[in-house]
Every structure is written in C-alpha cells, then in structure tokens.
C-alpha cells in the first residue's frame, strides 16, 4: 500500500496548524487563571495594552462589545464571567506583532483573585460513596441510573458475589502537533483555519459559543498532526476569532506543549465499583457504580456516564443489573474525548473483574468469557439485538495462541486476556461529491486526514473497489465548510464506516448512470493512457464520449453520495435517569499480553502481545494492521506509564513529556495481529471501524497478565512499578 500523503509528509510538504500564516498576521497568547477555583476581583488590561507590539487585549468585559449578541447567552462563555473553574483557564487574550510580545503582555496581566475551595479530586467532592440523593448536588453534572430484572433476588441466591473497586487516572491524547489555529473576521464574516477532526461540528460549536450564525462562519481544516479525539470541539478558535474582531487583523494562536497538557480536555480519573453475582458458574446479576471526574464541565454530561456504563456492562449477556453513575465536577480542566472515550478505563475495571472472578471460580479466563460473551441474536442490556459479532471467534483464536505461549512460559511470566467492545459511530452521517472526469475521479469532502489514512486512503480504496478504477486515478480532495459537502467528523471510528458509505453510494450511482448510458447491466472503469474508459463486457467507451455537453463543460459527471445511518433504539423503560446509548454495530477485540514481573521491584516488561481484531471486512488489511499496532502501543502507555498527576491544589505536576511517560520504542514488544473477518459490520462491504477498538483491552490484558504471573491483582491503572510493588506488598 502506498498512501498518497506519505511522500509529501516525509518531505515536509504538507501544512499543519502550526504552519498557518496570513499577511499582516498577529500572534496571540492567553492569560490563564492563577488559581483552580475563585473569583476575579479586578483585572487591569490597560498596562498590557500599552506594551510594545500589542494590538489587542480582550477579557470578559470586551466580549459584550465585540460580538453581536455579546455571547453572554451562550452556554459556555469565552472567558469566565463570574467564576474561575480550573487552574490555567483562559481569562483574557492578547494579540501582538510577535509571539514573544504577545506572551510578555499576557504575563503582565496579573488579576486580583479571591480563591474559593478547591475540589481537586472526586474524593474531595464525595469522601464517601454518594447516595442517589447526590444527583441533586450542584457538583454532579451527569447522572445515569438503569436497572433490569430482580437484581436483589439474584444477589441473594448467588453461589458467589465478587465485589471490587477500581481506580483509573487521567490520560492525555498527546498528539505530536499541539493545537493551533488562525482566525479572521471581516465585515461580520468569520473564517478560521485550524487543525481539527470535525470542521462542521466545530462550526456549529463556535457559532453557539460566539453567538453568531453558522452561515457567517467558515471553518477550514489543515492537515492534522494527530487528533486522538483532542481536536474536535472548540478549543483555541474562540480566542483567535475574538482577537481578530478586536484587532481587525488575522490572528494566529498556538500553545506550548505545557499549555497543551494544562488545558486538558482529555480522559480524567474514575472510580468504579463492580459487584457480580454468579450461580452455576455463570453471571446472573451485575451491579455497576461509577464516579467519573469530568473536571470543570458544565451540567449536561449524562452522556459521559452513559457511554462509560455501556463499557462497564461489556459484551456479555446480562440477565439482571443495576447501574448508577455520577459525573462529578472538579477543578481540573474539563474532560474531553480521547481515542475510544471512557473505554480503556472502564474495560480495565470490567475485564480485571471478570478475570479475577474466573480465577476465583477456578475456570480458565477465556473459557469463562466464552460462557457469557454475546453471539449474534443475543440481547444487549438495553434490549437491542446483537448483530454479527466476532468476539467469540476472537476468544477461540486467542485460546489457541495462549495455549502455544503457555507451553514455554518462563518462571515469573504470566499471560493475560481481555476483551474490548466497541460500536462504530455510523449513526453520524456524511456526504461526498464525486466528479468523474475524463482523466480520473475526484472525491470532494470535508475532512482533513488526521494520520490514520481513513480519509486520504480509505475513501479512495472504497471508490476503487466499486468502480474498478486504479488508486492512481483517484484523488481525495478537501474543501472548507463553505465548499465541501457536510460530514460529521473524524471520530468514533466512523470515517470509513459512514463517510466511506457516502463515497460508496456516490460511486454506485456513477456505475448506474454509466451502465444506462452504454446500455449494459454491468460496467467497470479502467484508466488507459490517462483516459477513463467505461468497460462493458468486451466493449470499451471513452468516458469523455459519454458525457453530456454540460458535464463536459463542468469537467465531468458529478454525483453526491450521502449516508445517514439508521436510528437505533434502546428499551427506555430500563433507564430510570439520564440516558444510555444504542449501538450502531458490534465490534471489538480480544487481546493477549505476556508480561515478565520483577517480583522484587514490581517492574513490568511486556514480552509479547497478540491482538485479535473483529474487522467485519478488512478493506485494506495493511492499514488495519497499522491501526491495531498503533492502538496497542498507545494502550500500553495507558497501561504502564501514562498518567496526569495533579497536586491537592489541582496543579498538574507533569505537564511535559519527561514525566508524562509515553511508550518508547524500547517498551514495545512484538505484536501479533490477527484479523477476524466474516462478521459483517455497518460500514462499506461489511467493514467495521478500527480506529478506536485496538486501544481498549490493553490495560486490562496487561493487568490480567500480572495477576497470572503473581496471583496478585492491581486495582489501579497505570500499572507503574511502584503500584505493582504495593500490590505485591513489597512496601
């Protein structure tokens, strides 16, 4: 496989957010709150305005005059109007001729603040596990409660009840490219160029934050230097646009890597309690309780709890259950999506718990999972029918590999297994415009490639498959929100699944139209000497001869492909508070890890790794393999070392890559990837999304391998050497 973006990227020939420039451009810097919780008593912007090179300084007071509606009705104010809710929250912004002048001026704004009580952690808000009444606490910003069946009876009559509490940590996306954007405002029209995974979603978000019409704003994506969920919602754009209004000049805003960490919008800690009732060797009842730190988020975060809970129930038949979770507001930066949001942490808890339960019952952990894992036709906890699902096949494949590993397992080593469940977000729709020209196909759509290849390569491969045209004659083009057709964004592993189907539909209508024109029932396309040919049986027609005069004038045959996924439903009678989410399709992975544990220091080494990925259909197997390997490596970071550390004063203690430890090449074991095909998903040709699932089971697989090696369970992730040492009672 050769990706069309590979060579330009290797040569530095593509532009990222950091590379943005415009004539007459100013540089911006943010003034950030000095306390995690408090009120601004006074903030003088005058002195900063008079500093060299400074062109504009904006704070809460300026918003009223700069924006049409003053943006005061907006749910999320650009700057805090009354309360600072996290340390480092932007409270004002500066634009100046140079970056250094902007940063100097920003540093010169020293607000007088009155500090308020800081809740740095979930435990500060709820020292004891909260009761149902906590749903009314103002610091609870999301609440979900659901139940099904006579849970109490099942727990009373159980042979065994397995109860545990797990803790997870904050994890950052760590995209190589920090956020960066360039805002322009002229005559009531706004334009922002930015490194984003969701241009259209961002347009909607910005319009609501700034109190402007979507039609007055154009968002143009740049190439994205890694997103992992962190480049979706509005982040720096409101400040750049506000400064552009104030200065009447283009304004560029980018952040340092330390700021990237401190501004957050990522995975935050959680506390998870799991109780499971077993009878006759099978799970008959589940209780799941969750406290999710959502940082300084505003109310309305039910979805965070709802999504987490789906992962905490897992891909298992659940006869009876009761689940309750709270999203808890703390004085950390607001949480945000991060590759497979909520899943690796929830699955760490669930799959550790299931594993421990199997061991307690004396049943092989893979065998135990096989007893309850979903098969097609089973019902989910919310009574949705399970579609084609490859985890049973994945578990069986994993059992064979685990058996082979176990025959030569050195002392001190252990093997762990974990399942991860995911649903491709094909419900979020998209559109593409396909122009078949005499010399090739151009696919115009609204997403920028974020790195995994699903846009630049995946969409082209879909068209290749339908049309028979070679990849070299297919170009994927980008537009801004004014010129490209709508798409929901690159998230939820949906790009190939949903936007790919828009392309597939567009390509199929091209086939239908052309078949009709040549009077054949089946056709395909070829390229010869730079000319697109329509092949029908033995006949070959030059495309150019089949076009109408108008089409020729317009450069080709243009069709729109649209795909909006079907609505799915859950049994709402089981949901007592908040909301839960239906699944679009059923995918996931089974992972195996072999670790070596230093029994004296708690140090872990992952010796080898295997991933069995349910892909439905691998549209491009080598691209899938790359996604799985990348996901495993990223998951190993969360499993072993990545952790945001906050002090009791809610200060991030490790805002940099020295102490926020990403996996290094030396930590990466050999990774065996096996694709499970044949369980069709909701994507084109039965494909399932593969962007997120490979990260999900990793922390659990590693933790279960540690338990296998030592007989000791670690209830907290990441499994740093010191945590493992404590679990082993070495200190």
């Amino acid at each position: 496989m050769t990706r069309s973006d590979a060579a330009p990227k290797a040569r530095g020939g593509v532009g990222y957010g950091m590379d943005l420039e415009a004539p007459g451009m100013l540089w911006a810097a943010l003034v950030r709150a000095p306390v995690p919780h408090g009120r601004i008593v006074r903030m003088e912007l005058g002195p900063a305005r008079r500093m060299p090179g400074v062109v504009a300084v904006v704070g809460p007071d300026e918003i009223r005059t700069l924006l049409p509606k003053g943006a005061l009705e907006a749910e999320r104010p650009v700057f805090p109007l009354d309360e600072i809710r996290y340390r480092g929250e932007p409270i004002a912004a500066v634009a100046a001729e140079t970056l250094e002048q902007a940063r100097h001026a920003a540093a010169a704004v020293v607000p007088v603040v009155e500090s308020l009580r800081t809740d740095a952690r979930i435990e500060d808000v709820f020292p004891e596990w909260p009761s149902a009444a906590a749903a009314k606490d103002p610091r609870v910003v999301g609440h979900v409660h659901a139940r099904h069946g006579d849970v109490e009876a099942r727990f009373r009559s159980a042979d065994l009840v397995h109860s545990e509490t797990y803790h997870t940590s904050g994890v950052h996306q760590v995209a190589l490219e920090p956020h960066a954007c360039l805002g322009e405002a002229r005559g009531g029209k706004f334009r922002v160029r930015t490194s984003t995974q969701t241009p259209f979603g961002l347009r909607e978000d910005l319009a609501s934050i700034l109190g402007i019409f979507e039609s007055s704003l154009v968002v143009e994506g740049t190439w994205v230097g890694g997103g992992f969920g962190g480049k979706g919602a509005a982040f720096l754009e409101p400040y750049a646009l506000l400064l552009a209004v104030a200065s009447r000049r283009p304004v560029k805003l980018s952040v340092t890597y330390a700021e990237e960490f401190e501004l957050g919008r990522t995975t935050l800690p959680s506390i998870i309690r799991l109780d499971t009732a077993v009878r006759g060797g099978k799970i008959v009842g589940r209780r799941v309780r969750l406290l999710l730190d959502t940082g300084a988020s505003l109310p309305g975060r039910d979805f965070a709890v709802g999504y987490s809970i789906g992962f905490l129930l897992g891909p298992y038949r659940t006869e009876t259950y009761e689940i309750e979770g709270f999203a808890v507001q703390t004085n950390k930066p607001p949480f945000g999506p991060h590759r497979a949001p909520f899943a690796p942490q929830s699955v760490f808890a669930l799959e550790s718990h299931i594993d421990g339960l199997a061991r307690r019952l004396g049943v092989d952990p893979i065998e135990f999972r096989l007893r309850q894992v979903w098969r097609e036709g089973d019902r989910t906890a919310y009574d949705q029918p399970v579609g084609p699902f490859g985890l049973e096949a994945g578990l069986k494949a994993a059992a064979r590999t685990a058996g082979a590993w176990r025959t030569r397992l050195p002392a001190g080593h252990g093997i762990g297994v974990a399942c991860g469940f995911w649903s491709t977000s094909v419900g979020a729709g998209g559109e593409a415009r396909l122009s078949l020209r005499p010399d090739g196909l151009v696919i115009l759509q609204g997403e920028r490639e974020i790195g995994n290849g699903s846009v630049v390569h995946g969409l082209a491969v879909v068209a290749e498959r339908v049309l028979g045209l070679s990849l070299a004659a297919i170009r994927v083009d980008y537009g801004d929100t004014a010129t490209a057709p709508f798409d929901s964004g690159v998230f939820g592993s949906r790009t190939l699944g949903a936007l790919g189907q828009a392309v597939e539909r567009g390509a199929r209508s091209l086939v239908t139209i052309l078949a009709k024109r040549v009077g054949a029932s089946e056709i395909h396309l070829e390229i010869k000497s730079g000319q697109v040919l329509v092949v029908a049986g033995r006949r070959r027609h030059k495309l150019v001869d089949l076009l109408t005069p108008t089409e020729r004038a317009e450069g080709g045959l243009v069709v729109e492909g649209k795909f909006y996924g079907p609505e799915r439903e859950v049994d709402a009678s089981r949901v007592l508070a908040g909301s839960v989410y239906p699944y679009q399709d059923f995918t996931g992975a089974v992972h195996l890890a072999e670790v070596e544990v230093d029994r004296e220091t708690g140090h872990l080494r992952v010796v080898r790794y295997a991933a069995f990925q349910d892909v439905g259909t691998a549209v491009d197997p080598s691209a899938v393999q790359g996604q799985v390997e990348g996901g495993v490596v990223m998951g190993l970071g969360a499993a072993l070392s990545e952790e945001m550390l906050w002090t009791p004063e809610a200060r991030l203690a490790n805002p940099g890559l020295l102490d926020y430890r990403l996996p290094r090449l030396r930590d990466v074991p050999p990774i065996h990837v096996e694709l499970i095909e044949g369980f069709a998903g909701a994507g084109p040709f039965g494909a399932k999304g593969v962007g997120e699932p490979p990260i999900i089971p990793v922390p659990a697989a590693v933790a279960n391998a540690v338990a296998d090696a030592t007989g000791t369970r670690v209830f907290e992730m990441p499994l740093t050497p010191e945590r493992v040492a404590r679990a082993l009672k070495l200190l």
């Binding site: 220091t601 070392s641 550390l645 102490d659 290094r664 050497p721 010191e722 200190l731």
Partner: protein, 289 residues
C-alpha cells in the same frame, strides 16, 4: 529571551570571561541538555552564554593505570569506546542508559557533574570509581575527588569562574551500575546504584543516586563487605545497610519507601553482578536487571 553567545577557544580566555561577569549574568553551556531547559523555563536569564564547544576538552586518554575523559566529550563518544565497555563496565552501563541516543550525542560528562543533580546516573558510578576532577579557574588548576565537588542538591563547590576540565578514572575496575525508572528511555531514575571493586584499600565501593540531598558513597554498607568474596549473607546485609542509612524523599517520581525498597534490591544485585564480573576474564555484556 536574548543573550550574547561567546565561544572562547582557550581555557584561560574562558576563565577570564567568567571572572569578568557577575554571577547570574553569565551561564556556561556544554551540551546544553540541562541548560537549555533552564533558559526555556526562565529559571536562568543570563546576559551572556559561554559555550565550551571550542575548548580542547573532547578526548578520552588512556594510560597504564588511568582513563582521563575531557569534560566536553559527548557521552555517546564514551559509550562507543569499546575499551570503556570492557574495562569499566559500570561506567559504560551508566552512560549508555542516559536519556536517548540523540540526547547522549549532545550531553557531556562535565555538564552532568556541573549540574550536580541528585538524580544523576553518572555521579554514583564516578563516586564508586573514586573519580578525580580537574578544575581550572582564576587560581589555576586544582584536582579534587568527585565527592568534594558535590555540595547539595544541584550545587557544586565550584567557584563562579571555575570550570571542570576533565575527570580521571582508574583504567579498569569490575563495576556495575543499575537503575530503576518507569521507562528505560528518556526518564529520570528513581534510584541508581553503583558498585565497584578496587584492588587496594577497603575493596568495595557502593554509591547511590536518587538519594538526598546528593549522590553519596555508603561507607557503612561498604564496611559490611570486608573481603573480595563476601558471603550471600554479607551482601544482603550490605544492601540492607545501604537502604537503611540513605535518605530519600517522596516526589512525583517515587515515594520514599519505594526508593528504599529499590536500593535494598539493587545494591544486592549490583554486588552480585560485580562479583560475577570479577570471576570472568571478560565482563559480561550486560548487568542483570
């Protein structure tokens, strides 16, 4: 941030430039892997930065009984010297796991000593090998043991216009350096343990890093190991003694009790590895971790 960069080409000129500036106004730059961070974080805001790049201090000089390493020699050059690996395995182990290959191509021995960090991976092995430091300054040249160069956490006894010229080590010694980090590459050691066996005097040297307020020799633990062939019991006792006597703190990288635990384990392993090296003609390739 703006400063003037100066490149003296002789030690005398360097010392003159340093003597002519007030402390804080001038900073010394070797590989810059520590200094650039200080400048970036504005912990330092010098008017001038004095680069040692043009000084003739990049060398490894072997003689019958010693190795002299010039202070501006990149760590990568020491690591790539096959003789270092063969004759001073502990030094080689300490150096080859500093940061990453890219970092080691810039970082220098003089910079590591000049920094005097309690978390340094090089200071413990230099202590264990009885290294001596040659210093030039306004008063001429002086030589002192590494131990006397170190003062406190990130503090040395160097005068404001003094520079480290070179470090002198024995030409060979069975030795071992073991560290514990969360990650092997580009991470700071939670503790570091160096051991060496020297033929004359009290034979055993045990030095620790990741302890407070600075890396130090553990003479109490060394005293438990009287002979060239200590028993398992004596080795364990020395390890316990080192862990008991050292002072640790809790910080974001490790708690005090975990560091103490690690020292007890790693001292034992380091002595065992050194013993294995003594009994082999050629030292083994890699210490057991």
């Amino acid at each position: 941030m703006s400063f003037q960069l100066v490149h003296p080409s002789t030690p005398a000129e360097a010392v003159r430039l340093l003597s002519g500036s007030a402390t804080g106004d001038i900073a010394v730059l070797s590989g810059g892997t520590d200094l650039l961070l200080d400048l970036d974080n504005a912990r330092l805001a010098p008017k001038r930065v004095l680069s040692l790049r043009k000084l003739p201090w990049r060398y490894l000089r072997w003689s019958a009984d010693s190795l002299v390493i010039g202070s501006t020699t990149p760590l990568r050059a020491v690591e790539n010297d096959g003789e270092v690996r063969r004759r001073l395995p502990g030094l080689w182990e300490a150096i080859r796991d500093v940061g990453s290959p890219a970092l080691r191509s810039r970082a220098t021995l003089g910079g590591n000593l000049g920094r005097g960090s309690p978390a340094s991976d090089l200071i413990p092995i230099l202590l264990a090998l009885d290294a001596r430091v040659r210093v030039v300054g306004p008063g001429g040249v002086r030589e002192l043991p590494v131990d006397l160069l170190l003062q406190g956490s990130r503090r040395t006894t160097l005068g404001p216009a003094e520079l480290i010229e070179s470090v002198t080590l024995p030409a060979s010694a069975p030795s071992t350096y073991l560290w514990q980090r969360v990650q092997p590459v580009n991470d700071i050691s939670q503790v570091g343990v160096a051991t060496a066996f020297v033929p004359q005097g009290p034979h055993w040297r045990i030095a620790l890093g990741g302890v407070q307020p600075r890396a130090r020799r553990m003479s109490e633990a060394e005293g438990v190991l009287p002979s060239a062939r200590p028993s398992h019991f004596e080795v364990e006792l020395a390890a316990q003694e080192a862990a008991r006597r050292a002072e640790f703190v809790s910080d974001k990288r490790a708690t005090e009790s975990y560091r103490r635990r690690l020292v007890a384990v790693l001292v034992r392993r380091a002595i065992q590895t050194t013993l294995e090296r003594m009994s082999k003609a050629t030292p083994s390739r890699k210490a057991k971790r």
